[in-house]
């Protein structure tokens, strides 16, 4: 681990998709002290019940936010990608009500709450942008509840793939309709609330219908319009200022 001052990070890219940063704001973000760590796959970063004094910015890799039932069943409630701060809420909420794990090897930047409070005090537009981030996160949770609770497996999976592709495009991690998607079928099962057998069947059906192509971790969507239709996907809930990523 070392403290570094990143010239560029995916959080800045994400913020810039919402509003144009002033030179001062950009400098402040670039100079935000971060302890950068490389974490192996399937490692908890924080756990439910923790009282962290820092939040974690994902610089690369995929994470999952999850909860576990008394019977040991895991529900993934969110996927995190580069540019996300999946435990930003710990800045204001002392005790974590979720756990956060890496799904793939990840590079993360830990930012102390002190540094986050400081930048928010000095730059109200950045504070507003963080607030907005947590509101959008809430909108995504609402969409997931609807998706998991009310759509059939096929449509549920289609919706999730649409969302992941658009979010990856925002931070430049997808070209057109192709991206790396190293999420396993069992992780999808935990996120979608179905069994891995079911996930596999649904992926096979989506492939057979020509809506997706999967080669290893590489996802290609040959018919974006039909996948969106299958997932009843309307990107409005992602509240993108620049709609290019959803095109």
């Amino acid at each position: 681990m070392h403290t570094s001052f990143h010239r560029y990070n995916p959080m800045i890219r994400k913020l810039e998709s919402i509003f144009k940063l002033t030179e001062d704001e950009r400098q402040a973000l670039e100079n935000l002290p971060m302890q950068v760590a490389v974490i192996k796959d399937d490692q908890d970063i924080v756990r439910e019940g923790d009282c962290p004094s820092r939040s974690c910015l994902i610089l690369s890799g995929f994470t999952a936010t999850y909860k576990i039932t008394a019977g040991g069943k895991r529900q993934i409630v969110a996927f995190g990608i580069a540019g996300d701060i999946p435990d930003l809420q710990s800045l204001h909420l002392k005790v974590l009500d979720i756990s956060l794990t890496t799904l793939t090897p990840c590079q993360v930047g830990f930012i102390t709450h002190e540094a986050l409070r400081d930048i928010c005090t000095r730059y109200p537009r950045i504070a507003a942008a963080f607030w907005r981030e947590t509101l959008v996160e809430g909108a995504i949770f609402r969409e997931w509840v609807t998706n998991v609770g009310r759509r059939e497996g096929y449509n549920r999976m289609a919706h999730m793939l649409c969302e992941l592709l658009v979010r990856l495009r925002v931070v430049g991690l997808a070209e057109d309709h192709t991206c790396d998607l190293p999420i396993t079928q069992s992780e999808f099962a935990d996120a979608l609330g179905v069994t891995t057998v079911h996930v596999n069947r649904v992926l096979q059906q989506l492939r057979a219908d020509g809506l997706i192509k999967l080669k290893g971790d590489r996802l290609n969507i040959p018919d974006w319009d039909r996948l969106k239709e299958a997932g009843e996907f309307d990107p409005a809930y992602l509240h993108l200022e620049n709609n290019q990523a959803a095109a």
């Binding site: 079928q185 596999n200 069947r201």
Partner: protein
């Protein structure tokens, strides 16, 4: 409990054969499906496609063979 197995076609959309599982009163308690080899996560396994009564719920395990499936079903039915 002695369970009875009866082969049945199941329209899963794949080339898969199933098995109805009946209890001693000849009531349907579960439908098992022999997962096709195309399924990468559980090829050749017996999957609890549907369960009724005490077997109803979000648990849908897959078993290596029919003996293992019957053992699990019996345990669930007895647990009551």
């Amino acid at each position: 409990m002695t369970l009875t197995l009866q082969p049945i076609g199941v329209a899963t959309g794949f080339d898969e054969e199933g098995m109805m599982v009946l209890d001693e009163q000849q009531r349907l308690v579960a439908v098992l499906v022999h997962i096709s080899d195309e399924n990468e996560v559980a090829p050749g396994q017996w999957y609890l496609e549907a369960g009724f009564g005490r077997l109803d719920g979000i648990d849908h395990p897959a078993f290596a063979d029919l003996d293992a499936a019957q053992e699990w079903i019996n345990q669930r039915l007895l647990k009551g």
